[in-house]
């Protein structure tokens, strides 16, 4: 894991960069090719944070690459800006600002919509460069005469004007780029970005402002693109207009996929393969323009069969050879949940609210209509501090709709929801979670590509850091109180021994507990559980009921459940919904005797 060996990757990168000029020329790489690989590699680091880590596949990165490149080149060639490095940094900032604006538009949607929008945006920039702005960008001629950098040290000036000195310059920035990127992916923000890739819905539900983090990833990618674009101009002594083409964006995507997304080094490896093959096919095999066809076919095969790129393939191979795959674990039963006085969580960051005496949660006249269908009608509902409330009702009674409105996943057509006396109607899920109201889902919503501990870390991070925080360079293990929070949650759901197991390897019952654990890790004062016993074996049910008994200490719980025995045993008060309206409310005993309830469940037989 990234957790240990903090400086190993950095040291190896430095060693590789120093060794490259000694080794690669023997393999047929020219210095210019090596420098171009570094530019692509740096461009790709940012893109990998966006695509590999956050899961946002953009086909418009050329727009930002070109922006940074042309701003830097314009400063240097037309305005006589004195410092190359200064111009590169200005170009980077310009690209980041443009990236922020573009991101605001593109990130209104995700998935394929995002891909389509970025394609369109990329094309717009290309046309803008060629037409409206051709006076500044040189149109199809580009901007020639970009100077080489030099560094004035006072006593002497270093000029980076030969192939290998330029290599030193490029390699230095690549190294800076990779060190920063490693810090970012190991920071709390990096963990949250991966969580967004895995399960954006849950990442928001545990209290993160996922839009803000996605925008952050987009801006980071833009900054890398902008700086790399500037380096391209420096490398070629000329800023080419084709930096803006769709082909540039496409090549970046393909190189990243070839090398392996989500590795940071993938784009570098991909660029090496790409540029080497293109040189080899064109000059050695004399294939002329056909080289792109060959590369296209290779790429399709790679996507089909080597899903995680060259780096992923090498890792698998390495694991196979060294047999480092762990032997299958003996099925060890998870720790039973005993009646226990649990280690309470560390002091929560947000425990500032003054003691509140009224209802923890109150719904007033809650109504939800879907076109003609009225799913919930004028429901009034109150839950007192520390109560364990059950909500039951036959299928189609409107329980799910009601629950979704309470957790702010769905906006009511009319009515208000008050949490600790505060109106939360229409608030977004992440904000509500930060106030202390969260839910566990009927269908598991986990971060499936991570370990159990990493899952809980993501939830606990929201509790520790709030909806949005830009601690990009802070190490994950330096977040105060995070460890205590995670350990306490692990103990509470009885999964301490399984903490470092990947979610995919957990048994169903364990996943259900983790599901509840994710909600608990955000230290809610009010927890809503949507069918916590769904799909469980009788033994697992018993354990989970015990778990619910344990976690209710200091919390208010609302449980929707079909398992009547469990609800009647657990809850102090029960609310019955039927056909969208509140049918009855009372203690389990009262509900059991209620004729209306019997009629609703048994269709009037019992009431007769």
């Amino acid at each position: 894991m990234l957790k240990q060996r903090y400086f190993l990757v950095e040291a190896l990168t430095a060693a590789g960069l120093i060794a490259a000029p000694l080794l690669l020329p023997h393999l047929g790489f020219s210095p210019t090719t090596i420098n171009r690989i570094l530019v692509w590699g740096l461009f790709g680091i940012g893109f990998d944070i966006l695509f590999g880590f956050t899961g946002l596949l953009s086909f418009g990165q050329a727009a930002l690459y070109g922006t940074g490149g042309f701003v830097a080149a314009y400063l240097l060639t037309r305005l006589g800006f004195p410092s190359v490095i200064g111009a590169l940094l200005v170009g980077m900032v310009a690209a980041a600002v443009v990236g922020f604006l573009v991101g605001m538009i593109a990130l209104r949607r995700t998935g394929i919509y995002f891909a389509m929008i970025t394609v369109a945006i990329g094309e717009v920039f290309y046309f803008v460069e060629f037409n409206p702005l051709s006076e500044y960008t040189g149109g199809e001629n580009g901007l020639p005469g970009v100077p080489t950098p030099s560094l004035n040290l006072g006593f002497t000036t270093i000029n980076f004007d030969t192939d290998w000195t330029l290599y030193a310059f490029m390699a230095f920035w690549y190294f800076v780029g990779i060190v920063l990127a490693l810090r970012i992916v190991r920071s709390p923000v990096g963990a949250i970005l991966s969580a967004i890739r895995d399960n954006p819905v849950r990442a928001a539900a545990v209290g993160h402002n996922i839009h803000g983090y996605k925008l952050t990833a987009f801006v980071i990618a833009a900054a890398y693109a902008g700086f790399a674009g500037g380096l391209l101009g420096v490398l070629q002594a000329f800023m080419p207009p084709d930096a803006f083409t769709f082909e540039t964006s496409g090549q970046l995507v393909m190189q990243t996929a070839i090398g392996g997304a989500g590795t940071l080094f993938g784009p570098l490896v991909g660029a090496t393969v790409w540029l080497y093959l293109s040189d080899f096919l064109q000059t050695t095999l004399h294939l002329g323009a056909t080289w792109k066809l060959v590369l296209g076919v290779v790429f399709v095969f790679l996507v089909c069969f080597l899903r995680r790129g060259v780096i992923g393939g090498l890792r698998d191979l390495f694991a196979l050879i060294t047999r480092r795959r762990q032997p299958p674990r003996p099925e060890q039963p998870s720790e039973p949940i005993a009646v226990q006085q649990l280690a309470s969580l560390g002091p929560s960051r947000r425990r500032t609210e003054k003691p509140f005496t009224g209802a923890v949660l109150e719904a007033r006249g809650l109504t939800k209509k879907f076109d003609g269908l009225i799913a919930n009608k004028d429901i009034n509902f109150k839950v007192a501090q520390g109560e364990l409330r059950g909500i039951i009702g036959p299928n189609g009674a409107g329980k799910s709709t009601f629950f979704k409105m309470l957790t702010c996943e769905m906006r009511p057509t009319s009515g208000r929801i008050l949490f600790h006396g505060r109106d939360i109607t229409g608030m977004d899920v992440a904000r509500v979670c930060q106030l202390g109201l969260t839910k566990s889902y009927q269908v598991n919503q986990l971060f499936t590509r991570q370990t159990l501990r990493e899952n809980l870390i993501i939830a606990a991070l929201a509790e520790r850091r709030g909806t949005f925080s830009l601690d990009l360079l802070r190490r994950l293990d330096r977040v105060p109180g995070l460890d205590t929070q995670v350990e306490a949650t692990l103990a509470m759901v009885g999964l301490t021994a399984r903490a470092d197991v990947a979610v995919a390897e957990l048994a169903y019952g364990e996943k259900r507990r983790l599901e509840i654990g994710l909600a608990l890790a955000s230290s809610p004062s009010l927890l809503l559980l949507d069918e916590p016993l769904a799909g469980m074996s009788p033994r697992e049910r018993k354990e989970t009921v015990q778990l619910l008994r344990n976690i209710r200490r200091g919390r208010t719980l609302i449980v929707v459940e079909h398992d009547m025995d469990a609800v009647f045993a657990l809850a102090e008060r029960i609310t019955v919904l039927h056909e969208g309206v509140l049918l009855a409310e009372g203690t389990p005993a009262e509900i059991q005797r209620n004729g209306l309830v019997q009629e609703a469940y048994l269709g009037g037989v019992a009431a007769a």
């Binding site: 995700t110 394929i112 094309e123 046309f127 066809l293 899903r307």
Partner: protein, 291 residues
Amino acid sequence: MINWPLFVSQLFNGLVLGALLALISSGLTIIYGTLGVLNLAHGAMFMLGGYAGWLAYTYTNSFIIAVIAGSLFVMLVGVLMERVIIRHFYSRPHEDQLLVTFGLGIVFVETVRFFFGSLSKLVPAPPALVGITPLGFMFYPTYRLALLGIVVVALIILYLVLYRTRIGMIVRAGIEDSGMVDALGIDVYRVFMLVFGIGAMAAGFAGIINAPVVSIAPDVGEAILVQTFVVVVIGGVGSFPGAVLGGLIAGEIISLTSMFNPGYSYVMLFVAMTLVLVLRPYGLLGTAGRE
């Protein structure tokens, strides 16, 4: 001062382009709606239609045969593509689907370049449709007028297939919930293959009938793909009426902006797309929940 005759003729050009974009976009959108795959090789399908038609034309000198050959060839390519490759990507993440169709698009373009070179090819319009037709208020190239008619007919046929046939009903049900269709005992995979073929054919057909207007080259599909995306974002992904509406809007924007400065046509297209994204994030006729 606006030059009115030019304005009207550009309005017409916009209509023709819009109808064409509507046809291509509906192909893209029904594939996405049913299969959940965004085909980044859709622009290449447009290009392939043009080339297949051009090849048929050079052997037969018949425009009709060229259109039929172009459409059927692309349909075949679509069906094969679905069978051999896309089928294995349904269960894989969206990103992988994007990557593989993007790669396939490059393979198609470069294969064509390999065989036919980079120079553009022209398929002449059938003799009966050459020349200029007086419309009373202006003169308009006959073939473009015919093109408008042909595309409208094609769109109506597509509409009828989608909304009035059994297979269309299955496709529309598949757009809503393909899992449910599967559960009802319908062989979704066969439907998927067919939809992919029809969707690709829409682009291929557009490619060949547009060839007399704009000459074909290996990379002709790239610009079309971008415009198609804008159309779909404006209209709403997975919506056939949305594709038609979005197509017409995009066509008019491109055409009317070109009257003042062609360089800004993409900028205006982008402004329109942004407005839609801000005001109606799911597209003019799209529905929520389809990502």
